[in-house]
Amino acid sequence: MAKAELKSKTKTEIEDSSSLKGTLASVFFVGFFIIVLWIGVYFLYLDRF
């Protein structure tokens, strides 16, 4: 049991040091921002023209 715990902890650390999950979250944020602004102006367009 103790051995298994040790193993999983090491594994997490290795993953963490080369992980790009923050990058993934950041590019999703950029994409989300683009979509929200675009849809906002799109509805303004539908409303006016």
Binding site: V30, W38, L44, Y45
Partner: protein
Amino acid sequence: MIKSPLKSKVDPRDGKLAMAHLYVAFIALLVGGLAGLLQVLVRSGKFQLPAGIGYYQILTVHGVVLGLVLTTFFIMGFQLSVVSKTAGTFTDKQRTVGWIGFWIMTIGTIAAAVMILLNKASVLYTFYAPLQAHFIFYLGLTLVVVGSWTVGAAIIMKYAEWRRANPGQQSPLLTFMALVNTLMWIVATIGVAATVLIQLLPWSLGWVDTVNVAVSRTLFWYFGHPLVYFWLLPAYMVWYAIIPKIIGGKIFSDSLARMSFILFLLFSIPVGFHHQLLEPGIDAAWKFLQVVLTFAVVIPSLMTAFSLFASFETFGRSKGAKGLFGWLKKLPWGDARFTVPFIGMVAFIPAGAGGIVNASHQMNQVIHNTIWVTGHFHLTVATAVVLTFFGAAFWLVPHLTGRKLTKKMNKLALIQGSLWAIGMTFMSGAMHAAGLLGAPRRSAFSDYGGSAQAAEWIPYQIAQAVGGSILFIAIILMLYIFINLAFFAPKGEQEFPVGEALHPEEKAPMVFENWKLWLGITVLLILFAYTIPFIDLIQNAPPGSKGFKLW
């Protein structure tokens, strides 16, 4: 293992040439910044220009001096520096070519500036016909373009020399990037050179009576959109290849950086119609095609965003950062060389998103010719690009003048960047909002006969004046820092940061250096996007227009 050819210091002779460009750039910042301050004050409705100076005259000063002079001179100085640093010192012949280019550009700038200041050329930044300026204005701008080609020739000669000396090897990343930007600039400026030499000069000299307005606007925007990428790519050079070194990290991928620059070369140019979406005389199908190509040029920008985040996260995690965003805390926020360009990067998120709205064909009707567009390019060029240039100046100027960025100047630089961020949030934010409410761009203060809609814009115009005034303080601070770094900072060695790739063993494919291929595709795309529309515009042209001087 091949030894890096990197020199520790840019040769002082090359440094002098680069600094000559930077002096002109920062003089332009003062003149253009002052004109910008006057503009926002006039538009607040609380201030009138003295001595009969016209609003459209200072608008022209602001646009031409900042959009064309500051940017072109800074970029040429910066690119000469990075090429000298990464591909080796220029030969005497190459440097002489660079100096000739510098003087042609400077003479052209002075000629154009004098005509604007004499109020003979208040044709706004885009010098749209049928507004007609004095012929010396057009001649001056032609010299600026020809001079920039000449400086570009020095860069091309250096690159060719490097390739001959290092057969079969990929060129240094920053030299490669400077070359791509130079090639893109040469292909793009053919458009503005054509409209000026074939149309505007003969017309302003009175040799011909009329001008084909639609053709001149189309040639202008053939040049006008790649122009914004010509501003942006040097900022991307700093983001891709220099910032990683400043933070102590690595370039995420050398190949990705090269590929994104090649994509910019291909897709920056055949997209000018997205500036003309509401213009008659161009078939909607061709506009749509160029809208699609515009969306293609979004891709390398998104690649850049990914690469930067990855570079930052990899660095943060190597320093033991945990969690989703722990790496952000590891970045050197106290270092203005990083933080000021970082503010620029953040500004590029709303800037790019706004650009996607602008280019979305029918949606362009919501924002066309409103001050939203002005707000948009004050985020792109006047924040993302300019703050990156300032961030580069903080190490480049002392490096070239043999001085050091002191702690005190670094602190002032951080204040400068923060003031810029605050001022621009007010000014650009208010411009975006007022634009959505219909406020026009390129127009002096007016209450439009007491119209209720125009009254809605006034509070936003006051906010623009507040933001613009804060920005002017930031400009003064920047000039103080520049003068300090150029003339008064303590002598010493300031590092010229050049990043290394995370995986240097991964070589970019040599096809990236095949210029016949890339220029060939560039030309094909341009011919595809523009040939038939130009035939239409010329064959089915309405009678030409005589010149107007409305100021």
